[in-house]
Symmetry: C2
Subunit: 290 residues, 2 copies
DNA sequence: GATTGATCATAATGATATATTATAAAGCCT
DNA sequence: AGGCTTTATAATATATCATTATGATCAATC
């Protein structure tokens, strides 16, 4: 790669049309500019015709100038991207489980409306995928229902989501047998949530894995549809249940001690978050705790 | 602009995934690479996560790598253009008077057919415009009917073109009065050529400026049309006259001593011609002298 | 056609930046 | 914990760069 000092001197020379003025413009001595240009000419051949005034570039000189301009454009682009990463403008990428995702979704939209320069890329995915995506740098922020062990991740609890057993209105879920008869409407994090809640309520019974499956969806918003139609029960966070429209067709099992999942925001620990990410994180925190 | 040594080290680091191997790849010591990356990090913040192996780039590190790649692309383009200017591929620009232009035109086309990579940009224009265009770097090569004075131009004679007085078949041009009655069909270099030839043949008479004009065209190939139709006489190089189809409708005044214009190739003197230009020039020379 | 003023080139020197060696620290594996 | 590999740091030698001083060239002017 060409010595940037020399190139800068050459550019100034081309722009100012004189060694002396180029030197002044750069805060160098004329001798320095003269040397720089000579070094370049040693390598590429004659660049500048000195006889004519204002100075004239040879064809090779023009190519070199063109190259120099390309470089400073690339430079400007880089600088711009740097500034972006330190401003509230630009993209924030976020990956969350469906349930809590639904909860914060309106808040994020409001945020975007307030700051037109801000773009939020939001993907819904089960816990394991959230974990991987953040580790692989595909998403900057992630929401998890458990605290990750990985040292490369920084996690902070930002909310609690009570788990609920939802069954069709009119059915009863007192005994383990009731659940077996109803059947389980599964979702990506379904078995994990079921294990957590059911082990508390039906201590002696086998795990959720033994429950017959009556359906599956990775769209949380669609999950209560089969429940409302009496096809089975499911277990999901309260936030997800509250988002369902026809509350009168479902029922929530009133448990004695609530089972609460903690929600964690995660991001890569090794480098500081871009300012706009930190800001979105803070906003989410506020939104979920109040 | 970013120090290119540091950037190069960073690029090697990103590619090799290790300080030691990056250093080996660059022929430096590991300490040097370590320093370089630290300098960059002093300026831009953390670039590389050292804990994980292979090494991982932070988001800023990725931006920087992207920038580094842009630079080396620009570099490659520049190198390519340099090589082009020293090869037979690429564009040769040529500006010539109409008459001699017609003469060499077929030769140039043949040249292009032989070398598909060669592109010839050829413009027809009167002497003064040729001069200016070459001086302004708009064309690399020019043909002139006189030797230019300008020191910025290098000129070499490559051919002679005899001037001819062409009049309609059946008319006679013995006396000055005959010319006045016929009238002059003018063209961009017409008056200059007329002065040259007529001052030889009609020494006592006033200059060509006093001849009545009967037409004008800057298309040399069209110039003899009005002459053939008896509208007047003209003065042009023999090459141009020979290209006319209906020779039986025109007549050439048989002069005792031929007036010969010398044709000069010109190009900027201050820098060496690109190789392909030199080659086209040599070809033209051959074509015009044989 | 010498003289003056302006511009650019060159050489020598001092200042700055860079690469290397040597060594310490950290991380990883058994 | 000990040995191995990898990275960081400090000190020193080297290379690069900018400056000053001076010489050369060219054009304008008297």
């Amino acid at each position: 790669m060409i010595n940037p000092h020399w190139l800068q001197s050459f550019r100034a020379l081309a722009e100012q049309g004189s060694f002396t003025r180029a030197a002044d413009a750069l805060g160098l001595t004329q001798a320095a500019v003269s040397q720089h240009v000579r070094f370049l000419e040693d390598q590429y051949g004659l660049l500048v015709v000195r006889k004519s005034r204002p100075l004239e570039l040879t064809p090779i000189g023009q190519e070199l100038l063109c190259y120099a301009l390309e470089l400073s454009e690339a430079d400007a682009r880089f600088q711009h991207r740097l500034n972006l990463s330190d401003s509230l403008e630009g993209e924030v990428s976020l990956i969350t489980p469906g349930s809590s995702g639904l909860l914060i979704y309106p808040a994020l939209l409001a945020l975007q409306q307030q700051h037109p320069g801000l773009v939020i890329r939001h993907r819904f995915a089960p816990d394991q995928e959230v974990l991987q995506a953040v580790l692989n740098n595909q998403y900057e922020l992630g929401l998890l229902t458990f605290a990750p062990q990985d040292k490369r991740l920084k996690a902070q609890a930002i909310a609690e989501e009570p788990l609920e057993l939802v069954h069709p209105r009119g059915t009863r879920v007192k005994e383990w047998q009731d659940l077996v008869e109803l059947g389980f409407i599964d979702h990506p994090d379904g078995r994990a949530m079921a294990d957590k809640l059911l082990s508390r309520h039906f201590p002696g019974q086998p795990g959720a894995a033994t429950l017959p499956s009556k359906g599956y969806s990775n769209q949380v918003s669609l999950l209560l549809e089969p429940v409302a139609r009496g096809l089975g029960f499911t277990i999901l966070p309260r936030y997800a249940r509250q988002a369902f429209l026809r509350q009168d067709e479902i029922a929530v099992c009133q448990c004695q001690r609530p089972v609460v999942d903690t929600l964690w925001v995660i991001h890569r620990a090794e480098w500081p978050l871009p300012r706009r990410c930190q800001w979105v994180l803070d906003t989410m925190k506020n939104c979920l705790t109040h």
